[in-house]
Symmetry: D2
């Protein structure tokens, strides 16, 4: 950490900062400059020390700016964990060099709808089946999902088709219930900083699929992952799903594909892209899915509905079965290592 | 709702849209244009009808654009509820023409710290005491609050000083516990779309103080309020607390003060401004608090700490007791009707 | 255009709107609804009519919302110009199905530097040579370019290597000068709404390479193109170069790759991607360049410097010659139709 | 400037950085840490040195992050110019403790329209008359202004009413012409980084009213001012006019009022607020104008039209004469020192 003083800061102010640092058993390094003084702390700070010092020093008169010299996340950082993390679920490897495809409808609507979707997913070579049972909806008047009934359908259909399953869990007290039925717990974009949920998901020991919040900088995204990792759960999968757009005339979000190489560089965790929410428009899903592969993502999550026109949620971004199969062919043609289990 | 077709849309496509509308018992009004056709639905749609139609029509070939002709919120809307809502708690009226001040530290740290703060709040003429017991923190390594111990301190100190109390609740399963100790339930910015929490807060029947999410458009903010109202709980207080900034060099958020007259025009709910989080910098709090008053807010929530340098969280945005009292004087000088109970 | 009235708008207010429409020779279509009235204008409006009506109707009491039913751009729109525009410059086709690569340093620094760069560009199979002579720099203290001396170098080196040249022009009064030396006029992101410049570039008849402004919605981008097209110059090339990011910790901008299929759908103009400015970091350029190809761009513009460490501007985003050649190989391996002239 | 190395950076990489610093005659201060090394440069760098070093060091392997310890602007900074700058034009002082009001229509449409507006401005106690002659419009089909004819009207009407005049200049080559007719040159938001224009405005020696770009961080805004100041022109007036909003449903921009105390703290230049563009909606102008005063602005610029319904541009944000006079009364009631000349 480096503390930069204002031009004209007094010796007393500089001493106050140095004292605050020494009071924590650290040695300040005072760098006199021409206009102003900077004070460095050569030691690597623990996160709690850092937080503490920032608060204390930040209100000392004469301090102009506090700069971190290291990233705030540690367990998620590649600096301390060089090798890629691979999350393995029932033989499906996420992050192990293959390109994993998670497909299925936005919501589980009925056994028939979901079973039809699953068969298409399976036949395409995709290995993970998605479907929402508890749906976070902007309006209280929108369809809210089938709840536990949906979880039961999810589990049956997953088992029948030999597919790994994933669904969203919206609160910490539901982690136990959802975890009984599905293989991977999804934490949605709007829940990225639902800290009680992150902690419970961490404690569950189940693989956690964490979506980036729509206005979350990379550091906040990795700190959310840190909450899960910090509970001793190393099975975290990151998902870029689009950030708030300049406007919503043509797309629902702005898919930040450069986040993929950024995350792969700074973290060892697998990175999945969701081009369905990332664009909100079915016709842009396939090109963005292909782009996700070429920028180095470990896979994609894509919404597909047997009949989008009758979908109870997000119909406008769901691929038809034909479009989904066609996307899979295009991905394979590009060389994506889509592994059938 | 109005559906605009693409240039060159076929008669069959137009008929598909009209049929989908008729299938829901509504009458489409087809408007032929020079280049393209628009199709109106003259009736007022319920929210579920609207959501349903948008999904269905949105995937019909030839549709270019769907426009809502009414706002998506209803219970929160002034269009159907002309008079201002006034939330009254133990004799303190929020939204009833007075200017309410909610003060106190970011976190409850100890009985002494909190009691000292409360005495200053009380002496200033402010009527509501704030303090966090469960703290949502971006990093898992930051101070997380005193939990139930903090709630107990909050309640004792509130009672001792005759102040209404408010604290944040972070998950639906905590609503019961928190509601036992405090008068007003706060839902934080990061929880604005924590739907299970909104529903539980609605069911609790307690006054709910809802903060706007950092990237939430006004419509999404009012739809979050709608979740609470829809549970039969009409005691909702809105809080503008800053949106994501262009950069974070000088302020932590961008306080969107125009949201105050916008919200007052389109909703009947009381509107409070939080200049502490809205700027993140103590020295900008007082000017922005005064601005909140002149633009028509019903009050402010301001962080004040007996000793900001030793604060365990958010020290850099907390006012000192002197600054807090001085802010109160400036507000009174401007004519703010700060009511001592 | 559709005008939606407020709930409770009076008949007189509705008549005012209808009268304003009739006063312009158009026929209003009044649609009574349950709560509120909407008024449609079935005819297709010219842009000036639209602008005029929006202003006039927008201030009539009782009007709640005005919705366009068509896009504000016309000459740039694919609705009225189905076929792809192909800009051909000295035998190089931009937009004609090939994938064009524009390479070269940020700034022309000297004949030697630029000639070295050009030889690498040429040898790679790229066909267009870029280099700045007049540099828009955020700080007045940064290197501002070699001005006309740079243009002369650009022209010589382009001619010697048989490469098409492109450089930025920063003001309308410089269009003539710059046009004497280079083949394609570049309008930078910060100049996207420099209207006198757009008009002069349009009048020049030279191909215009228009970069999207950092906070420009797609409609504003296409309206900027419309300024050039409206001068009778149909040779406009669009360039997505990144929009303002959530934060600048890891990238300088957020490259909005979904803008490529959006622009290709709604406009007939060729679309180029600039992954150098789009990320601001050399190591992310190649993956994003490949992504640009798979999402359907007509080409890329990439910064390459013979020796980035000594670059006078933007060194941190320039590829080395080795990285540039390697990117070209990866693009060819993906199947990009990079045409050597 | 402080350079932070990656964890595991080699001694050779550290030496490369130190050598690059020494090669510029500066002394590096290497701070060994537990995980990583930081390298400080205690001297204050000139802006060109800074730019140069950032580019050079930024591409050295092993460098993780470069942090500035001082702001990039110098002439605009209060650190080196403690006293408030007051721009005085024909006896009207901007920045000298009074609260200046600039009023008038968006566009000069005719002598009658403009003269009527001027009389209202004058009678209200406002001292500066605004009106556009050259209009930057998003669409080429919108009204573009009366050009020189508008300037002539501006000058006549200003003279007749004893008002200081201000109008926008859109390009460097127009500075001379516009400067002949008006007292203050306005540089619009979209031109904030039109560097040739900034330079010409600087050379002109006339007072320059510089609007913040819609996506410009404070540092970029002050660097734009620096371009003008750097030409020896110290008469720069800053204007906050709203930044890009989260969405445009209710307001056209988000007025960033906290920018006022931020700018007043870090710069000595006067700061004006434009609540007309800042909100885009007439009914929000007066509350935001009052807020501008209480947060410490040196004045406001407000659009007023004798008959907004017939305005050729921006009618929906213009106040009527009655609303304008009422706003002036409310400002005076708040204590704003509006000086009649």
């Amino acid at each position: 950490m480096i503390i930069v003083m204002r031009v004209g800061a007094t010796q007393e102010q500089i001493d106050s900062v140095a004292d605050a640092i020494r009071a924590r058993g650290l040695e300040p390094l005072v760098m006199p400059g021409q206009d102003r003084v900077a004070i460095g702390i050569p030691a690597s700070l623990g996160n709690d020390q850092r937080t503490d010092l920032t608060a204390v020093v930040g209100v000392i008169e004469g301090v102009s700016k506090i700069t971190e010299t290291s990233h705030p996340y540690k367990l998620a950082s590649r600096e301390f964990h060089r090798d890629d993390t691979c999350v393995e679920v029932k033989g499906v490897r996420i992050g192990g060099g293959s390109f994993v495809v998670m497909g299925g409808p936005c919501s589980v609507e009925s056994y028939d709808q979901f079973s039809t979707a699953a068969k298409i997913v399976k036949s395409s070579g995709a290995t993970i089946l998605r479907g929402g049972a508890f749906k976070p909806r902007t309006s209280p008047y929108s369809f809210q999902g089938l709840a536990e009934e949906g979880l039961k359908i999810l589990k049956s259909v997953g088992d029948e088709n030999g597919l790994v399953t994933i669904t969203e869990v919206m609160s910490g007290d539901m982690v136990g219930l959802v975890g009984e039925y599905v293989d991977i717990l999804q934490i949605g974009a709007r829940s990225m900083q639902n800290f009680p949920l992150l902690i419970e998901a961490g404690k569950s020991g189940k693989p956690v699929f964490l979506k980036r919040g729509p206005s979350a900088p990379i550091d906040e995204f990795l700190l959310a992952a840190e909450y899960v990792l910090n509970q001793g759960n190393s099975q975290v999968i990151l998902c870029e799903r689009g950030i708030i757009p300049l406007d919503r005339t043509y797309t629902r979000n702005t898919l930040d594909l450069a986040a993929v190489p950024v995350l792969k560089e700074h973290s060892h965790l697998p990175v999945i892209v969701d081009p369905s929410h990332g664009t909100g428009v079915a016709k842009y899903v396939t090109p963005m899915a292909k782009a996700a592969f070429v920028v180095g993502a470990d896979g994609i999550m894509v919404e597909m509905h047997p009949n989008p026109k009758s979908a109870l949620s997000d119909g406008s971004q769901a691929l038809t079965p034909e479009q989904f199969l066609s996307m899979m062919s295009e991905l394979k043609a590009l060389g994506a290592p889509i592994a059938s289990p």
